[in-house]
């Protein structure tokens, strides 16, 4: 997100989901869209049925690759090489939009000089993607007006995640694929309200609406609005908080997140958790983090409370209470309000008064221009509004940057390739990536409690290439141990050509085989987002009793890969 804000002046999908089906070129990178954003994948496939060209860049063969004109199957962590080489082709072949660059951007010359060194032939050596494919993709993207970029955590969850975002943004800016329908740069959000949580200021550097905490004017406004002095220094990023847990961080409040399961290098985090003097969590189920909590507050799920979620395309939509929370469980806003007021009382501050989520939203919108025109009433009436929406008359914004980049000038950023922090070596010869599957969600506290999804995908597994499996005498369904410098877990082997040779892949959902015991917690230099997508690992077969083997249900998942049905 930081990369997007830096480049364009807003951190969100530039365009809308409804425009995807009209796109002529879709460049999907680092996104297993079918499993992580099924409905967006449907729209992409509809575009393909209509005749659009789909280009997928991903180290794995995913469902979408079977719909793609080309699959750029790059080595994990080599995105910068790929993107710079595409930029190289676009510059070298004169496919840039010179007018757009002149009018709407700054910093192009530095990028042009940098990418001149990133030839497709050299890129092929590093990324493993044939130079011709890189050229083809660059031309297809650059020469098609309705060409959009779509990405997710495969781009950002790297130590060079922000560089990856800059690399993509450079492509957008040099081709002028911005400020028009079915184009732009579109991060697909993994959770229902990632966008909304960011928008609402749940970040250490921004108040609501991306207003910096270290901007004196902004801070002064909020001090006036909230009636208290406010800290002017940015706080700690999540990944830094986790590393400082038990060190400089001694007390923690966690709402709706299983940090122990979800954060990287979880073994080390668990040890540090013991150093917390106090931990309170607000949850709907006991989770791994609850083992360390001093107080656990029962929360309400989405169906039990009112409010809004903001989706990936900046659309503010209502959440409505359908059923009551169980027992004494409370909507999280009620619990936070009660806690804040209890502390306020103790500290002699004025207590907060809200008669409900609509009033809370109204307060937020009042101080943030981007949402000033949005209210619960309007969303109820109109069914959803996309920010920026600056006044009650403003219709909302389908795509950003129409008639000029929000930031004023789109900022090119020259980037150089930096390898991932942990590369394969003789001791740990495989590259491990982690991700999601369609049938589970995050820590799976919800999905594994359903009667259905657990049946479709019951056990933890690790994808491994047939050649790598053969070298280790591993067969489909064997019990294997996956080990990194940080920990090891046992799961089933899924022998598949979906992964590259030398790479393995694990879903992150399974508490009994926690992929995050394995991952590195080194973060991106700007965002501190951890490198969930690359670390060095080894895999060994584990002997097991025949009875255990018999109990193995034999199916992992049935999102048909490219091996099953490529004609649609």
């Amino acid at each position: 997100m930081a990369g997007l804000v830096t480049t364009f002046g807003a951190g969100a999908m530039t365009n809308s989901i409804g425009e995807i089906r009209d796109a002529d070129v879709l460049f999907v990178i680092g996104s297993n869209t079918t499993e992580a954003h099924p409905i967006i994948a449907m729209e992409m496939k509809r575009a393909v049925h209509r005749g659009a060209t789909l280009i997928v860049a991903d180290p794995r063969s995913i469902n979408l690759t079977s719909f793609a004109s080309r699959h750029l199957k790059l080595r994990p962590g080599t995105d910068v090489w790929l993107l710079n080489a595409m930029a190289h082709v676009i510059c070298a072949e004169g496919l840039v939009d010179a007018d757009f660059i002149e009018t709407n951007t700054e910093g192009f010359d530095a990028v042009r000089e940098t990418v001149a060194r990133y030839t497709p032939e050299e890129a092929e050596k590093v990324t493993g993607v044939p130079a011709d494919d890189i050229r083809w993709a660059a031309r297809a993207y650059a020469t098609t007006p309705k060409a959009g970029i779509y990405y997710t955590l495969g781009i950002t969850e790297h130590t060079h995640g922000t560089d990856n975002v800059y690399g993509l943004a450079n492509l957008v800016l040099m081709t002028g694929h911005l400020g028009k329908p079915s184009a732009g740069m579109n991060p697909l959000r993994g959770q229902n309200n990632v966008q909304g949580a960011n928008d609402a200021g749940a970040t250490p550097i921004f108040y609501p609406g991306y207003q910096r905490v270290d901007d004196p004017e902004v801070a002064a406004r909020y001090e006036k609005s909230w009636g208290v002095p406010l800290p002017r220094e940015p706080g700690l990023n999540l990944n830094v908080m986790m590393k400082e847990t038990g060190r400089s961080i001694r007390g923690m409040f966690v709402m709706g997140e299983d940090i122990v399961l979800s954060e990287p290098n979880a073994g080390a985090l668990e040890e540090r958790m013991n150093g917390l003097e106090f931990l309170v969590i607000q949850e709907i189920f006991l989770n791994e983090t609850a083992r360390f909590a001093d107080v656990i507050l029962p929360g309400a799920c989405f169906a039990e409370k009112d409010g809004v979620f903001t989706n990936s395309e900046r659309r503010v939509q209502r959440v409505r209470k359908a059923v009551e929370p169980p027992g004494q469980a409370k909507a999280d806003w009620e619990a936070v309000l009660a806690l804040a007021n209890a502390v306020a009382e103790k500290r002699g501050l004025t207590p907060w008064r809200y008669d409900g989520p609509a009033a809370i939203y109204a307060e937020m919108a009042k101080d943030a221009d981007k949402f000033a025109g949005i209210s619960h009433d309007r969303v109820d009436r109109e069914g959803g509004l996309q920010w920026p929406c600056t006044s009650p008359e403003h219709p909302g914004t389908r795509f950003l940057h129409e008639g000029g980049v929000l930031r004023g000038k789109g900022l090119f950023t020259a980037i150089e390739y930096r390898p991932s922090v942990e590369l394969a070596d003789p001791e740990y010869p495989l590259v491990l990536s982690t991700g999601r599957t369609l049938y589970h969600y995050n820590a799976a506290t919800q999905t594994r409690r359903g009667v259905g999804l657990a049946e479709k995908q019951p056990v933890a597994f690790c994808e491994i290439h047939p050649a790598d499996a053969r070298a280790r005498s591993i067969e489909q369904g064997d019990l294997v141990e996956v080990e990194t410098r940080r920990g090891k877990v046992a799961c089933r082997a899924m022998v598949s050509r979906q992964v590259r040779r030398g790479c393995i892949w694990m879903p992150l959902h399974f508490a009994e085989a926690r992929a995050n015991l394995l991952t590195v917690d080194d973060g991106d230099i700007v965002t501190q987002t951890a490198e969930y997508k690359v670390c060095a690992a080894k895999v060994t077969r584990v002997a097991e009793q025949p009875a255990e083997r018999d109990a193995f249900p034999g199916s992992f998942y049935a999102v048909a890969g490219p091996e099953q049905g490529t004609i649609h």
């Binding site: 048909a560 091996e563 099953q564 049905g565 490529t566 004609i567 649609h568």
Partner: protein, 516 residues
């Protein structure tokens, strides 16, 4: 395009896999890239693929039923042969017929069911016809000189199409549509990738003439196709033969090899495609779907295949007999052909079977009457009661219509049709409800199932007839008029539109047999 061709390979791949045995759909999916459910959908549509474990299929067409097909089926089952009934095998002249593997065994008896089936052909006539007055001349020696093609090349496409226009040649598959109209339409399309398709999916009960043309005059067929391809600007010709035509397939394949080796028709490539058991694929758009490797369900029209046919390209689809007329039209000229007929242009291959002395294929002037045809075929067996003039789809006519010219218009005038000119003769031992039931069952089994008027209507009529036979009261047939009307109005293709005719025409001409 490569994807299209991989999908088109599905039926063949399923055949090689031994039909729709467990696991075959998945294996073919892996081989072709077509989703396995779609492979399953295709395999289950075609009975030769859907039921690969049947050793013998006894033809249940009306002529074979008249020749004792039911008794043969019982006897075969009694002898422990894995067998079932099957729709018309286009061997009505050698009834009863049985399909063994993909080869049709003529004149079958329970005793000969295990025997090897040699190559065979049917009776042709009439005896003593003047070859200079025959467009196809089944008895003639195959002509591999390529004379007609060479002449057509010299004439140029416009002159060839003009000759076809002047000849008055109408489609011989059933609809009787003017051939020249189609040629002009395809030739006039802006898309320059065009195809010619040979419809050799002969399956209308009572019809077996295309089989005979393929067996005896494959030269005419290929030369006609080559002339057509050049005239409309196509390079690729797809020959779709029903899967049960193992013997005709071999003849045509040999002929293709022969003209290829001789370099007779440069710039024209012949492709062969085997049907997998579905009458409906004789309908041209269903045939195109099947060629594309899909379920053989007719398309909505418009657009017509001449604009939007195989793989969306302009396509000329012709029946075997129609295309076999083309060389003679080119060689001898349009006026010559037009003058051959009595009430319409050309000669016509009439198939006659059932209660006649010498069932077979007779090339006679278009517009001869039943009486003249049967005279050529050696006369009636027993006393004529009713006849079906053009396949099951034409319904029944009474003996009193035996002097009516068998042509497109005269038969339409009386609520019937010439169709494929598959004439089935019934004598006075035949009960009309029984004969109607054979035809209704045929349509019920062969409906593609796509649209409700046909899928439900064919079954509804058969069940109504069953109720009437079990308990002859008018109430049983109370809905027939409405359902027949709706099938004709509401069905997508000709199958459903005509499927009521056996019942409604029989009720019209033989009311007393239906309690009316």
């Amino acid at each position: 395009m490569p994807d299209d061709h991989r999908r088109a390979a599905v039926p063949d791949a399923l055949e090689r896999a031994g039909g729709l045995v467990p696991g075959a759909a998945r294996a073919v999916s892996a081989e072709t890239g077509v989703p396995e459910a779609h492979v399953w959908g295709v395999g289950s549509f075609f009975h030769l693929l859907a039921r690969p474990d049947v050793d013998a299929r006894v033809c249940t067409g009306l002529s074979c039923q008249l020749a004792g097909a039911d008794a043969l089926l019982d006897a075969a089952r009694g002898a422990g042969v894995s067998c079932e009934g099957v729709s018309c095998l286009a061997a009505c002249d050698r009834a009863p017929a049985v399909l063994r593997g993909r080869r049709v065994q003529p004149d079958a008896t329970a005793e000969t069911l295990g025997a090897e089936v040699p190559d065979w052909a049917g009776t042709i006539g009439p005896d003593g016809a003047d070859p200079d007055r025959l467009a196809i001349d089944l008895a003639g020696e195959p002509d591999w000189s390529g004379t007609a093609f060479a002449k057509a090349e010299a004439m140029g496409a416009d002159a060839v199409i003009e000759a076809i226009d002047v000849s008055g040649l109408q489609g011989r598959g059933g609809a009787g549509f003017p051939a020249a109209f189609k040629w002009k339409s395809v030739r006039g399309q802006p898309d320059e990738t065009r195809y010619v398709v040979l419809n050799a999916d002969e399956g209308e009960p009572g019809t077996f003439k295309d089989r005979e043309v393929l067996l005896r005059r494959p030269d005419r067929v290929l030369e006609g196709l080559a002339i057509a391809a050049r005239a409309i600007g196509a390079r690729d010709v797809y020959c779709y033969l029903r899967g049960e035509f193992e013997i005709p397939w071999k003849k045509l394949a040999d002929a293709i090899d022969r003209v290829g080796a001789a370099g007779l028709f440069p710039d024209v490539t012949f492709h062969m495609h085997a049907g997998q058991g579905a009458y409906i694929c004789g309908e041209e758009t269903a045939l195109i779907e099947a060629l594309e490797g899909k379920r053989g369900m007719p398309r909505l029209r418009p657009p017509f295949p001449t604009e939007h046919g195989l793989w969306g390209k302009p396509t000329l689809v012709h029946n075997v007999e129609t295309i076999a007329c083309v060389p003679a039209v080119v060689t001898r000229g349009g006026p010559w052909f037009k003058d051959l007929g009595v009430t319409g242009p050309g000669t016509k291959l009439y198939c006659v079977s059932g209660h006649v002395a010498r069932p077979g294929t007779y090339e006679m002037p278009l517009g001869v009457s039943l009486e003249e045809l049967v005279t050529a075929a050696g006369g009636y067996v027993g006393m004529l009661k009713a006849f079906s003039p053009g396949g099951a789809s034409s319904g029944f006519l009474p003996a009193s219509e035996k002097h009516r010219p068998l042509d497109f218009k005269s038969l339409a005038d009386v609520g019937s049709m010439l169709g494929s000119a598959g004439v089935v003769v019934c004598n006075d031992t035949v009960a009309m409800p029984w004969a109607v039931k054979q035809q209704l069952q045929f349509f019920e089994v062969e409906s593609c199932g796509q649209c409700a008027p046909c899928r439900i209507g064919t079954r509804f009529l058969r069940e109504a007839l069953d109720r009437h036979v079990a308990d002859p009261r008018p109430a049983a047939l109370a809905q027939v008029a409405d359902v027949s009307w709706e099938m004709n109005e509401g069905s997508i293709c000709g199958l459903g539109q005509a499927a009521c005719l056996p019942l409604t025409t029989a009720m019209k001409w033989f009311p007393e047999e239906f309690g009316q």
